[in-house]
């Protein structure tokens, strides 16, 4: 019962802060609402007994990626951002895509089956089991993901590198 209530709280704040993230005019405020969003997603992970995922969610998303966003956003001109138009001439396309995604989500929720109800607790899985699974059962996707990250890393360095010839 109490888990249900906590889950509903997390879910409500996640939806609300997600909406606020894309509707705020001030980009730094958007980033802050996104931070709130990440915190509550971490909360859902804790509720699912996935403490490791919760910690990684905070370390990677809140602690690293969002800081980089903030770094870029801080360099923007906030005044110009708040006076500029909210949409460009492609807006019908964007709305159409949005509706398609929304319909898909609706279909998934209506038709799909979920292993857990909201607020139910999963069996505890330690880091050890997670590691063993990653390196045996899911070895190939895991390695592919690492290679993609490596490519991104090298690509970024190549783009930023000064040509001194």
């Amino acid at each position: 019962m109490i888990n249900q209530i906590v889950f509903l709280y997390f879910a409500a704040v996640i939806v609300l802060s997600a909406v606020l993230t894309i509707t705020r005019r001030n980009p730094v405020h958007s980033v802050l609402f996104m931070l709130l969003l990440f915190f509550h997603i971490a909360g859902v992970f804790v509720l699912l007994n996935a403490e490791f995922l919760a910690a990684v969610q905070l370390i990677v998303y809140a602690g690293a990626i969002l800081i980089l966003y903030l770094f870029v956003v801080m360099l923007l001109n906030v005044d110009r951002e708040s006076k500029s138009d909210r949409a460009n001439r492609f807006w019908p396309w964007i709305v159409a895509f949005g509706l398609v995604i929304f319909a898909e989500i609706g279909l998934l929720v209506a038709r799909g089956s979920f292993p857990l109800e909201g607020g139910q607790i999963m069996n505890k899985t330690g880091i050890k089991e997670l590691g063993i699974d990653l390196y045996t059962k899911y070895l190939v996707p895991f390695e592919i993901a690492s290679v993609i990250l490596l490519v991104g890393l090298v690509g970024a360095v190549m783009l930023a590198k000064k040509k001194n010839d």
Partner: protein, 317 residues
């Protein structure tokens, strides 16, 4: 019932002790710096100048709490609270002595890393919300610096985790009964010390506030209690890093004859003094030197240390 009561008492005791320690460290730092620089330091108010802290607190509390009109008000007010909250939260997982711990987490070390990675928001947001050139420069510097040094802070600790086989700080201490981890993880210790200094924005890594070029950087617009929070947050950060060094590399509360809490306090106090000595003796590097040191020296060293530790554990079987 009595169990949960002791739990609450322990939590409050930890909280109040930490806040008192944070305040007293301001006095300690000024006295020690004075000693090492052949001066007297604050010695007028009370015995040995101890009441200087109280005098400073009264001053900070009654000062006008001014929010500049060009600041972004909600973010400006929020920023100083973040650093104190996040640092105090990290202390929740620190085992001060057997039984004296706010919460026992399996993921203790990861929780600490998560919380310390959030501390950077305080500095960055303060710099941005102040709406002044110097502050935003300080904020930008700190976001780049803290990101770079966090990258190998986590890596430098993984050697300890591999040796202990757990992220639980209690198990890490228990694993050091036969010998402190500093014997195998000296490189990890040095890297963590460097990263910790950078995370707390202490000299020689205080470029976000470099008063000679940025006029105190990210907190130049702050006054009154908000400035006080930044100040206390910095000293809480030093205490946190010192106590984690103690737990991870120097056996935590383990030690002969004396009670565990005394051992923990002594070891932590030693590292706090080391932090102050660092400030007294080292000059500030240039910004590009700082960045290239982090990425080109410390990160490869941390990865190499991880590799060697893994190989050593495999070899021992």
């Amino acid at each position: 019932m009595s169990n949960s009561l002791t739990h609450i008492l322990v939590s409050f005791a930890v909280l109040f002790t930490l806040l008192a320690v944070g305040g007293m460290l301001i006095w300690l730092e000024r006295r020690l710096l004075a000693l090492w620089q052949d001066r007297y330091g604050p010695n007028r108010v009370g015995p040995f100048g101890l009441l200087q802290v109280v005098a400073d607190m009264i001053k900070v509390l009654f000062k006008e709490d001014w929010v500049p009109p060009f600041a972004n008000k909600p973010v400006f007010i929020m920023a100083p609270a973040i650093i104190v909250t996040v640092t105090l939260m990290s202390f929740a997982v620190v085992p001060f002595a057997p039984g004296i711990q706010v919460v026992e987490l399996n993921m203790g070390l990861l929780f600490f890393l998560a919380m310390s990675s959030l501390g950077v928001y305080s500095v960055v947001l303060a710099g941005w919300a102040s709406g002044s050139k110097y502050s935003i420069l300080g904020g930008l510097r700190s976001s780049a610096q803290m990101l770079s040094y966090e990258a190998f802070m986590g890596l430098s600790l993984m050697g300890v985790v591999m040796l202990a086989g757990s992220f639980d700080l209690n198990r890490i201490i228990e694993a050091q009964r036969d010998g402190w981890f500093i014997r195998y993880q000296f490189v990890g210790f040095m890297l963590f010390l460097i990263a910790g200094t950078a995370e707390t924005n202490r000299l020689p890594f205080d470029l976000p506030e470099a008063e000679s070029e940025l006029v105190a950087g990210f907190h130049s617009e702050y006054s009154g209690l908000k400035f006080g929070l930044f100040f206390v947050g910095e000293y809480l950060g030093i205490t946190l890093i010192s106590s984690l060094i103690t737990v991870l590399f120097f056996g935590g509360w383990l030690g002969p004859w004396l009670p565990p809490l005394v051992w923990f306090t002594l070891k932590t106090f030693f590292f706090i003094c080391l932090f102050i000595l660092l400030r007294a003796s080292l000059p500030r590097p240039r910004y590009d030197q700082l960045m290239s040191f982090g990425w080109k020296v410390c990160l490869p060293l941390a990865v190499g240390n991880l590799l060697l530790t893994g190989a050593w554990i495999l070899m021992k079987g």
